[in-house]
Symmetry: none
Subunit: 461 residues, 2 copies
């Protein structure tokens, strides 16, 4: 049976797979730092060469930022779904360097208690290790069968860690080339080290900045304190008004489109072995602070939130200064779910602020982005195939989970290419992505590769 | 007549007086910022040298903070009152620098419509310009008569803008040396540009900093937004709770000891030509924001207030960052009146904050100083002499007014040395002290110097 042969090839070739991943990890493709521009190009070129080796027709496309790698299988596959696989070759800066136990771009295999091993390097999990699980599954098919079992397009970008500025124009310009039946996006996590997961809900995000102004200059709080309006106090009052005593958001219309949690999904979540005490304890917390009466997982995955991400006003140096500042500002973000409309939410927030401005105060707003929430169709036959393949590899049903974060590419695929994405990845929540000593379990890499082989085989049937 | 000669000497020497003031203003003696420690020392040394030139015996005393300058005339003056003159050589930080029309430590004489001229620099009014009016009056007496008309002690500190932490121990240690019949404190304002004033009421000041902490590190607002407590939100809620809808302070016990305004003083204030629209309009405001039902002058001079002087938390750079910060902090100050006890107010504020902390949040407090309000004796014969001298110079009776600001030294003189102070200064309410483009009218400087010459001559008779 071919799949067994492919899985056996993956097992046999594991050391070579690791060696290839290590070569990739040694390239310091830090996208945010112009000093590493050549390294980003080198990472793109390395991927392109690997893809050509696997029989893809690959091309590195220049952009105004870092290049895109696009590759296609050029064989006829009548009746089989065409899959787009997305990943990114850029990584976060490694600083603070002094907190790394070894240099971040010298990957190591580190044994941990219990007999497991970890791949430690910047990018080990995010996203080079994850991306390579798919590449190595493809390689095994080519080794055993001489070709992939279905048509695959690869899309790798180098600007994911800097907000993907080139992505939208690139998708617009290559719409026909990139459109497939289904996209796979791989930078997501398992439920835990033993339980695979497919992420089917992503929260949307509206990011606003508000600047409240009062007097035309900073004033002495002794000489003018009393009659002079204080923008920090005004801003604090407005921010305090956003949430009610139950942790719900008091902006009129905010919950329009939120909907109730799907009963089946909710029931599945409640059965998960989720330890709230442990989850909060890991953050130094004891009590869930979100909406009263909502389970923590629902608070993160399925309920909208508002957070103040930053605030500044007046004198913030050492000591004291008796000033009434002329202005104060806050960065406020909203996580959206269901059918909440980002534009309506943004306008409702701005109206909420304006309605609370006292005499002599004005507010200016800056938008730092707005995207809707995404729910992936639960009825998709592809989803059923993927869940079956994951269960076959891990011996447990795959959890359908949400993510509180936002993955803009998924929205772009849906909006610009009319294509649904399945979010499958093998990261763990202790992978320390974006932090020192980032790691990817060897089991994530090995069984992740095997999982993709099973998924590709299932979709090809 | 000697006084006329002294006044004539002041008029003749005005350009040189200005040059000396500009030299003094060029020293960036910012007391709150350790980077300017040497500059504070330089300002003290400069004063000491000037005082020696005027025949004083001057000494710079080290403290645990910035130094004190003390100088004495050492001549016998049988039967004439001994005067202590107090000023401060430190200044506020100049930020925000970008709002200054020229560098804050490069003093300029700027013509304004109507033929007047202004001295523009940080410290021009607060307090270097004011302090120099007294110094230059002394200089004129020395130039004309070879000596001052009465015994004078000078006391200049460099920590007035940071709550004067060294002052109390210094007064305790130098009680006998500093005790005089009367103190003059000069960092106060005229009633308006044509009307001199003596300030007889001063508000007290309690300065607190509060740091609210939540999780043990910054968190991703997507992955943890909802269950993770947000210290900025907690702080905003607490700050919003401090004032009620009528602008009164909701901290229990806050108004204990406030008392009602003295009827006679209140009646005098109501007769003053105070234009609320003009006063607020000069700040870019239209509506008095303080306690509902209180006249603006009463709000500033005779009612307690609370202001947030600074706030910071989370990401405050350009763009956005989806962070829930581990902590947020605010600088909060209270202006006190009547018999309000600063220690009780401080403790009541801290209890008010602690009572509002939700689960998982803690608060730390820093005290940046605390002083009670003051009322000066209206029956003093020195007050009558000073009012007559001011009327002779300005051609109008001097107003007895209050001040919303706090001058802790006045309380210390009364409490520690048993000495009353007369608060006489020539600042104006549009001097922009503590703000960008601080100025001191050339007329304030020139006629202020002349006023001091008249006051010294009157006291010496």
């Amino acid at each position: 049976m071919t799949l067994d042969d492919v899985l056996a090839a993956i097992d046999r070739d594991l050391d070579n797979s690791l060696a290839r991943l290590f070569t990739f990890l040694r390239i310091p493709s830090i996208s945010t730092d112009p000093a590493f521009r050549k390294d980003c190009r080198a990472a793109a070129d390395w991927l392109s060469v690997e893809l050509n080796t696997l029989g893809f027709e690959s091309r590195v496309h220049a952009t105004t930022g870092h290049p895109m790698v696009v590759a296609h299988t050029h064989r006829p596959y009548a009746g089989r779904p065409h899959v787009l696989f997305y990943g990114h070759y850029d990584v976060q800066p490694p600083d603070p360097l002094e907190l790394w136990e070894a240099p971040p771009f010298e990957p190591r295999l580190v044994p941990v208690p219990g007999g497991k091993r970890r791949i430690v390097a910047r990018g080990a999990a995010d996203d080079k290790g994850q991306l390579m699980t798919f590449m190595e599954a493809c390689r095994a098919f080519v080794a055993v069968e001489g070709k992939l079992p279905l048509p695959v397009t690869m899309l790798f970008e180098g600007e994911e860690e800097t907000g993907s500025p080139s992505l939208k124009p690139f998708l617009d310009a290559h719409r026909d080339e990139l459109k497939a039946d289904l996209a796979f996006v791989c930078d997501t996590d398992m439920w835990d080290a033993a339980t695979p997961a497919v992420t089917t809900m992503l929260r949307g995000l509206v990011m606003e900045e508000v600047v409240v102004s009062g007097a035309d200059r900073d004033l002495h709080s002794g000489l003018f304190g009393g009659p002079a309006i204080n923008p920090i106090r005004v801003l604090a009052r407005i921010l305090a008004d956003i949430h009610d005593a139950d942790g719900r958001i008091a902006i009129p219309g905010f919950y329009d489109g939120v909907g109730e949690l799907d009963a089946e999904i909710g029931a599945q979540w409640m059965k998960l072995a989720f330890d709230e005490v442990k989850f909060l304890g890991g953050l130094g917390l004891k009590v869930a602070a979100g909406e009263r009466g909502k389970h923590v997982l629902e608070q993160i995955w399925a309920r909208p939130t508002c957070d103040v991400n930053g605030i500044i006003g007046g004198y913030t140096g050492e000591g004291s200064k008796t000033v009434i500042p002329a202005r104060a500002s806050a960065k406020v973000s909203f996580r959206l779910v269901g059918d909440q409309d980002p534009t309506i939410i943004r306008d409702a927030f701005r109206a909420f602020v304006r309605a609370r401005l006292p005499a002599d105060c004005s507010a200016e707003f800056l938008s730092h982005g707005a995207s809707a929430a995404l729910r992936l169709p639960l009825a998709s036959p592809y989803l059923a195939m993927v869940r079956a393949a994951l269960e076959a590899e891990w011996g447990r049903p795959a959890v359908l989970k949400g993510s509180g974060g936002s993955i803009p590419i998924v929205g772009a695929f849906k909006r610009d290419l009319g294509m649904d994405s399945l979010l499958v990845g093998f990261g763990l929540d202790d992978d320390r992505i974006h932090s020192p000593n980032e790691k990817y379990d060897l089991a994530s890499f090995h069984k992740g590769t095997r999982s993709w082989a099973r998924i590709l085989a299932a979709l090809a049937q």
